[in-house]
């Protein structure tokens, strides 16, 4: 029996959303502030409802579901980045979300962003120096001239996405989660990134992948979890779950 790496036990995530709309006048707002009642503008979104599963070492798990079904929220909850409202998530080591985008700055050069992103993910300066060339080569942004020394805001959207994925994928993780990152770049880059996911998975133990591309899930994952409206609808071999999901989306 393989070791479990992530255990989700009846996970619920509720968002409080400050929706616009009618909020009443200033006096009403002040009254709410004093009485600490949530205003009519605050709505609760029950994004994940009682999801339980156990992930094991060596698995690549695809999370599928229609838009707004709670896939990304569930990933964030597993990573410990989105606090869960009810239930528990247990994990081996630190699950990492493959999302370094937020730490990067468009006004800085690609070179400085590689360093900044690496540091943000917890790599040491030595590790970054070691892997720097690999990251730049993998992203392929220098294939058409010396782009890495230019500010990132001058990149095309594809180039930016490629560099972001390369930075994020440069680190080895215990549990790795990828949110829609594989759909970026041209065909050659997509092939490279799929190979990289394989590598990461061999070293990481468990890879989670959120994708709308059912083909990507079939190709890269061996297990799939299907969420619908925050409820776990099906959990099993990728091929079976994808078939059922496709049948469902065709009917809808």
């Amino acid at each position: 029996m393989a070791d479990p790496t992530v255990i989700a036990d009846d996970v619920h995530v509720v968002y409080k959303v400050h929706a616009g709309g009618r909020k009443g006048g200033a006096t009403a707002a002040l009254g709410r502030l004093l009485s600490r009642r949530p205003g009519p503008g605050v709505r609760e979104v029950h994004a994940v409802r009682g999801v339980s599963f156990t992930a094991y070492r060596g698995e690549a798990i695809g999370l599928i579901g229609t838009n707004g079904s709670g896939k990304s929220t569930l990933l964030k909850a597993i990573a410990g980045l989105q606090p869960v409202t009810r239930g528990r998530v247990y994990s081996q080591g630190r699950p990492s979300l493959l999302g370094v985008n937020a730490a990067l700055m468009n006004d800085l050069s690609g070179e400085r962003n590689v360093i900044l992103g690496g540091l943000a993910m917890g790599m040491s300066r030595g590790q970054i120096r070691e892997r720097y060339q690999g990251i730049v080569d993998f992203s392929g942004i220098n294939e058409k001239g010396d782009f890495v020394s230019l500010p990132m805001r001058t990149y095309s959207s594809g180039m930016g996405a490629r560099l972001r994925f390369s930075i994020a994928a440069a680190k080895d993780h215990d549990v790795l989660m990828i949110d829609e990152a594989l759909a970026t770049g041209d065909a050659a880059f997509q092939r490279r990134s799929q190979e990289r996911v394989e590598e990461l998975r061999e070293r990481a133990g468990t890879v989670f992948l959120v994708s709308h591309g059912i083909a990507t899930v079939r190709a890269t994952c061996d297990r799939a979890i299907w969420l619908e409206s925050g409820v776990l609808r099906m959990d099993g071999p990728a091929a079976e779950v994808c078939d059922a999901y496709e049948a469902f989306t065709r009917r809808a």
């Binding site: 156990t54 989105q82 247990y90 999302g99 937020a102 900044l116």
Partner: protein, 322 residues
């Protein structure tokens, strides 16, 4: 691709969870031996995701990220004026222009310079030190709330964000203080051993600001509306801290109770500004300082620094909640 996947499959798919299961909370858990998820987690040494680390672990983790904290601060400093034609020159020009405006209004129009010897150095020191304190509090309020994307994307001790904000502002302060020293020499101040007191003053001010930024970061993350109020609070604080006027000279009148002047002079912003003036300006003597000024400066720094850090750490696992 398809062939490779098939070839690997039998090895990687474990038997227990790989069956399609009906949805709903009542479904049986997998066929594994430990009955509850908690027991299974304990058996394999899994820990709860996103739990708050102990204080010592937290400090260790923060120390481990020190390169990120400084790199993030420097990166933001460089990114600030990157689209401006004059670029980094604005780090110098902005505070000087700011000082020029205050000099015109307070020094010339309202004649606050009356009775204050060396008014220009007095004003410049006040504005530069205040800028650091005020901006730290203001930027600290938005340190977590304005970086929710980062907080929700990566793991790192959240205190990195307010601290890197303060480091960024401290770098800015060092630039302006360097300019100030040049200006002081040009204005005919003579450098003496008392100038060395500027270093402990800078250090204590930085610790105090870091603490304030941490406190405000937690408050701002819970109630973002506070950041709308901060400009008013800060302006009140600035005007009552003697940044552009001398608390001594204005409050010498007898019609004000003694404790008002005392409270104004003991407020942390005034303490740090006056200490800086005392160390750099010849005509600003110890008589203008409140009693026990060093214990006061150290006390404020420790209170804000230690208290702010503990207060921030207490809510570590809650940052990023929607």
């Amino acid at each position: 691709m398809e062939d490779r996947r098939k070839g690997r499959r039998p090895v990687t798919v474990p038997t227990a969870p790989a069956r399609p299961r009906p949805p709903g909370p009542g479904r049986p858990k997998g066929a594994t031996a430990p009955s509850s998820p908690a027991a299974l987690a304990a058996a394999h040494g899994l820990i709860v995701s996103g739990a708050r680390p102990s204080l010592t672990r937290y400090i260790a983790a923060l120390w481990g990220r020190r390169h990120f904290v400084t790199a993030y601060a420097t990166a933001r400093m460089h990114a600030t004026y990157s689209t401006a034609r004059l670029g980094q020159l604005w780090h110098l020009a902005t505070p000087l222009l700011n000082a020029a405006v205050y000099y015109f209004i307070f020094g010339v129009v309202m004649n606050a310079s009356h009775n204050v010897p060396d008014y220009v150095p007095f004003l410049l020191t006040g504005i530069f030190v205040w800028d650091f304190i005020g901006s730290s509090v203001n930027a600290g309020t938005r340190a977590i709330h304005g970086n929710l994307g980062l907080v929700r994307a990566l793991h790192f001790p959240r205190a990195s964000l307010p601290l890197s904000t303060v480091i960024q502002l401290f770098q800015q302060l060092l630039v302006t203080m360097g300019t100030l020293v040049v200006l002081l020499l040009a204005l005919g101040q003579t450098p003496g051993p008392s100038w060395l007191l500027a270093f402990p003053t800078l250090l204590l001010t930085a610790v105090f600001c870091a603490g304030c930024a941490l406190v405000m970061a937690r408050i701002g993350s819970k109630s973002p509306d506070v950041s709308q109020l901060m400009p008013f609070v800060l302006r009140t604080w600035m005007y009552s801290s003697g940044v552009m006027w001398s608390i001594d000279k204005v409050l010498k009148r007898d019609d004000l109770p003694h404790w008002v002047a005392l409270a104004l002079k003991a407020n942390p912003a005034a303490v740090y500004i006056d200490l800086m003036r005392f160390s750099l300006i010849d005509s600003f003597t110890a008589r203008s300082l409140p009693h026990h000024v060093w214990p006061l400066a150290i006390g404020w720094a420790l209170l804000a620094g230690v208290g702010g850090f503990l207060y921030f750490w207490k809510a570590e696992e809650e940052y990023g909640r929607g």
